[in-house]
Symmetry: C2
Subunit: 156 residues, 2 copies
DNA sequence: ATGAGTGCAAAGTGTTTGCAACTAT
DNA sequence: ATAGTTGCAAACACTTTGCACTCAT
């Protein structure tokens, strides 16, 4: 999830939009740019914020609608994290990856895309369930918080 | 997740509450009873509904607070499912299990508890991440919806 | 020109909280 | 008696929607 050339992504998005009879607009440009600048995963609210720095007039609702449109285009991916805000990020050419969120500090960490492949095979075989692992973040404790917990637990 | 003897669970809950200086109350009794009657996973709203059938005077907020208290007691488990409502269920003596939700029909399916053990080991080794697999439902398509999708996709 | 897309405000979920009243202990 | 709990209503976080207007095509 390193940052990408905004212009290249913008061109791609424009092309895909036009091929569907949809339009490239200010809000969409701003959302793409915001996502391309940051690496990592942003909540919708963080996208709203970042977009505000690019074009202050863009309304929160338009950010949501843009994120939805871009998802339909296969340009943006969203991941549900445990309790709260959905996380969004550009799908970069290096391919999709999985996510886990630390329940303590909230950090979202990237995981190798193939991590759940054996699980997916087992689920398909045993239950017929088709796993879509990219769609939900796993939960647990990141290395730092796990270490802190181990340190704090034994004695105060 | 088969249904349990309400009375046995109520006694257990009362004991654990008292051991912490907390109290057994009407709302908590109703929540435990509601969860013990159903097997499966209920959203908070469904618990509110079921509790209403037992004791109509119990307020929605009390249901949330009771669920939280019961979670602290290790009697109730909650699972975050993709987008929406958190799912709650009693932790039965047969042990915890994992969950997956169908993104199409919303059904929550139970999965073997050890399904992600190899993944957990790999995460611990490679990233130091301590997986808490019970806390989040995996996402995908259940067997029925996958079959329907396969049928509908090729031709109309 | 024309319909896709926007801004706005308002509604919609799902959940939490401050507080006075209540009740299990 | 007295602290843990409740009911209520209001606030909260996140997201969606109806509508008149705007603008990319």
């Amino acid at each position: 999830v390193s940052d990408q050339q905004p212009q290249a992504v913008l061109d791609l998005v424009a092309a895909r939009l036009h091929s569907r009879g949809e339009r490239m607009t200010g809000p969409r440009r701003a959302v793409v740019t915001a996502l391309a600048r940051q690496d990592g995963h942003l909540s919708a609210e963080q996208v709203v914020e970042a977009v505000g720095r690019i074009d202050a007039g863009v309304h929160r609702a338009s950010v949501y609608r843009s994120l939805e449109a871009l998802s339909g285009l296969g340009v943006v991916q969203h991941v549900h994290v445990g309790h709260g805000a959905t996380a969004y990020h550009l799908i970069d050419q290096t391919g999709a990856h999985l996510h886990a969120q630390c329940r303590e500090c909230g950090a979202v960490v990237d995981l190798p895309a193939d991590l759940l492949d054996p699980v997916a095979r087992r689920l398909a075989r045993e239950d017929g369930f088709v796993l879509e692992a990219e769609h939900v973040a796993l939960s647990g404790l990141c290395a730092d918080c796990a270490a802190r917990a181990a340190r704090d637990r034994p004695e105060g």
